[in-house]
């Protein structure tokens, strides 16, 4: 029995292998960052390994199943992970490595079908309807993908095979790690109804609480609650959505290259910060990063938001929508600073700040309302030139004066 099979639910027999109406695959790498690290450190296989960084204030990016058995999960503060699992091996993330492996994995997917919708570095939906004649049944395609990912990238993945996206995703989670689960179309409800309500797409902590208050604990409970009751409890849209999902209905198609809805960067401080100057420097750096990503992706955006998480973990966001879209760091920072200053925080201790652009449009299609003070060579040209320098000499080759070393900068972790 391999290491990874240990965590499979005991006595789990699956739902049969009829995949005739199941062209949707959800492929999810197992403990992605950790698995990638273990490739070069095989001596750690079988041990609790945690990838995460940034000193005491970072978060867990990934943990092996041995570490998860100790209660570790991703996004948990590293400090807490240390307390829960002092015996675990902590590894700093290797920058650049994961996107490289991810690109390799996505390439495998693209060779199977062009209809690939990446959700993040380590998971994607595939619609294999068009590959059946060439490569066989969805299940055999899933086997093929799993074999190729191990052979070519040295990590394992789990695959859910179903008729809809959300069932496929639940199936891959259920089959983890290193597994494969087919949910035949006539077994969807048998699979779905015993699951806790939290398994449904769109049910977070808050919604789960409201559902529990109504005495609804399983997906089956939701399915057998009148739609009107659901709408009253959760609102029109959410009520309808959950009701549909509880009956296995999800008509979203696999959409390749979903356009970005927003682009944002955040930074968590090593120690809580109350100095407005430091906060502003971080906002400037984040604006700079966001603007660079916007230009890189060919986007302009109109809505700028900042996020502030206080020492007590309470979090606020503030946003402003501008008249004309932008992709320049100066304009983004000007608004971010205005939003921050409007909060009038009096030395409140802050744990995290973030800058995000929403309302993205394709820059090449967006008309541009010119301004009087727009010089022939403005900030944007300067920033584009900086993009070019950075791509050759690294991210710190050119920086705003405010961000150059020498200013005593408290380093944050992005």
């Amino acid at each position: 029995m391999s290491r990874s099979q240990v965590r499979r639910p005991a006595g789990f027999v699956g739902f049969g292998d009829d995949d005739s109406s199941c062209p949707i695959l959800h492929v999810d790498m197992d403990a992605f960052y950790a698995s990638v690290e273990l490739r070069t450190r095989p001596e750690l296989i079988g041990q609790p390994v945690i990838v995460g960084g940034g000193g005491g204030r970072g978060v867990v990016l990934s943990a092996t199943y041995e570490a998860r058995a100790l209660g570790i999960h991703s996004a948990m503060p590293i400090a807490r992970a240390h307390r829960l699992a002092p015996q675990a091996i902590f590894i700093e993330p290797t920058h650049g490595l994961y996107s490289e492996v991810s690109a390799g994995v996505m390439e495998i997917f693209e060779s199977i079908t062009p209809i690939v919708e990446p959700l993040s570095l380590d998971e994607a939906f595939l619609d294999v309807s068009g590959a059946l004649r060439r490569l066989g049944t969805p299940t055999s395609i899933a086997h093929l993908i799993r074999a190729r990912v191990v052979a070519e990238q040295g990590i394992t993945c789990s695959v859910g095979v179903a008729s809809t996206k959300f069932v496929a995703k639940l199936a891959s989670t259920r089959s983890k790690p290193d597994g494969l689960l087919v949910i035949p179309i006539d077994k969807v409800l048998a699979f779905l109804h015993p699951l806790p309500v939290g398994a449904l797409w769109g049910v977070g902590e808050r919604t789960e609480e409201s559902l529990h208050r109504l005495g609804l604990r399983t997906v089956g409970d939701i399915a057998h609650t009148p739609l009107d009751t659901m709408k009253r409890a959760l609102g029109e849209a959410a009520g309808v959505q959950l009701h549909e999902l509880s009956w296995g209905r999800d008509n979203r198609s696999v959409t390749p290259h979903q356009p970005d809805k927003s682009i944002g960067n955040e930074s968590t401080f090593n120690q809580d910060v109350d100095d407005p100057e430091v906060i502003l420097r971080h906002l400037m750096r984040l604006s700079d990063q966001v603007a660079g990503r916007m230009r890189n992706a060919g986007h302009v955006g109109r809505t700028i938001s900042i996020k502030i998480r206080f020492a007590d973990f309470s979090t606020i966001t503030r946003s402003r929508t501008m008249q004309v879209p932008t992709d320049t760091a100066k304009e983004i920072f000007d608004v971010a600073r205005g939003l921050y200053e409007a909060l009038g925080l009096q030395r409140v201790r802050i744990r995290l700040v973030g800058v995000r652009m929403e309302g993205l449009e394709d820059a090449s299609e967006a008309p541009h309302q010119m301004t009087f003070d727009e010089p022939a060579h403005g900030h944007r040209d300067a920033e584009v030139a900086i993009d070019a320098l950075r791509s050759r000499f690294g991210a710190t080759a050119v920086q705003p004066g405010r961000l150059t070393p020498g200013k005593t900068e408290q380093k944050g972790q992005e």
């Binding site: 004309v324 205005g338 008309p367 541009h368 309302q369 010119m370």
Partner: protein, 377 residues
């Protein structure tokens, strides 16, 4: 305090003061209205409001039987005053409560402690006068171009430049610039000063004083950062904005390659129709060619619209695109039957001015500069 005044007089006065009160005051007392009547025999009541930025004060005729001072919620008093029947109103302070009686209606309002109310700034000495109608028109023409974005506070102001008997007002939100020149009667012919006035206060005040024969402008000397505007027994003071207004004069083009004249009404109607398909902030394209200008909006699979309007073009053909709302604002502000537009290039500002009749000189006392939208591709 016990006073009696006409319902309409009171409603107007309260509305004038309440207009400047903050809707979300930093302290509740700053949203109050102070009602004062000094010694009997003055036959006058003074109403004041002050939120530490802007003050408003009005003197109205009243029968004063008992002088006094009282401070009550401004918004509530304004709503009551508006709703009262057309009969004389009595205000009586009794036991720290203000009774408002009118016909058979009667209200009792709680009061604030008068001692806690901040003192209104003194009105600076008058620097000169201008008829209220001209002032109101000029301010309205300019204030519409002021920015509304508080992240750029300088642009939320109207720049006032006084040089002898000439005043220039200017405002810009970076996308358009409105400049208006007019004459006034200064106290001192050698006056030469500038100020940056919050656009909203200025616009509200000027509009409210449009009926006054004479409006006094009072510019505090010696860096007090205060402007007073008064007329009709009413006065407002406002704190001026800090910061340097953009050097806008260099933006005004001195020459053009094409000019177009056309009927303002025809153009406005066509712009409004075509703009129906232009989503928020999306461009309206104008193609000036020969005897007409073709207006269009919308692209590709979206809804599209086209319309041609007669025009007299002098110079080269030109294609240019604008935010339709900005164009409509400018066409409304010139207040002339004929619109004169001049262009230098599709990427340079266009100047909109008015003409009284075809062939006349364009009226340059008001100029509206409009920055185009650069189309993609």
């Amino acid at each position: 305090m016990k006073v009696r005044l006409e319902r309409d007089v009171m409603a107007d006065a309260v509305a004038w003061v309440a207009r400047t009160l903050p809707s979300r005051p930093s302290q509740p007392i700053l949203a109050a209205i102070l009602i004062e009547s000094s010694d009997t025999g003055t036959d006058e009541v003074v109403l004041s409001g002050f939120d530490k930025e802007t003050s408003a004060q009005v003197h109205v005729a009243a029968d004063v039987s008992e002088p006094g001072r009282v401070l009550v919620s401004g918004r509530l008093l304004a709503e009551i005053a508006r709703a009262l029947p057309a009969q004389p109103v009595e205000l009586i302070l009794h036991d720290r409560q203000l009774a408002v009686r009118c016909g058979r209606a009667s209200f009792t309002l709680p009061t604030f402690n008068v001692e806690d109310y901040p003192r209104l700034p003194d009105m600076p000495d008058s620097s000169g006068t201008i008829p209220g109608a001209i002032f109101a028109e000029a301010v309205a023409q300019v204030a519409l171009a002021a920015g509304r974005d508080d992240t750029l506070p300088v642009l939320t102001g109207v720049r006032l430049e006084v040089a002898g008997d000439s005043i220039t007002l200017a405002a810009t939100d970076r996308y358009r610039l409105a400049v208006r020149e007019f004459n006034w009667s200064p106290q001192h012919p050698g006056i030469d000063t500038q100020a940056l006035i919050p656009a909203r206060v200025l616009a509200d005040t000027a509009k409210a004083l449009a009926g006054a024969d004479e409006v006094h402008l009072a510019l505090a000397q010696g860096g007090e950062g205060l402007l007073g505007i008064s007329g009709h027994g009413r006065r407002t003071t406002t704190r001026l904005l800090d910061g340097e207004f953009p050097k806008y004069r260099s933006l005004l083009p001195t020459e053009s390659v094409s000019t177009a004249t056309l009927s303002t009404a025809d153009l406005v109607e066509a712009v409004k129709r075509v703009a129906l398909v232009a989503e928020r902030n999306s461009p309206l394209r104008l193609s000036f060619n020969g005897g007409e200008v073709n207006l269009s909006a919308g692209t590709g699979d979206e809804a599209r619209a086209d319309e041609a309007v007669e025009c007299t073009l002098d110079g080269e053909s030109i294609d240019i695109a604008f935010n339709p709302q900005y164009l409509i604002d400018g066409l409304g502000a010139i207040d002339s039957p004929i619109t004169h537009m001049s262009f230098t290039a599709s990427s340079r500002p266009a100047v909109v001015t008015g003409m009284t009749e075809p062939g006349a000189l364009s009226q340059t006392q008001y100029r509206y500069l409009l920055m185009p939208i650069r189309l993609a591709g």
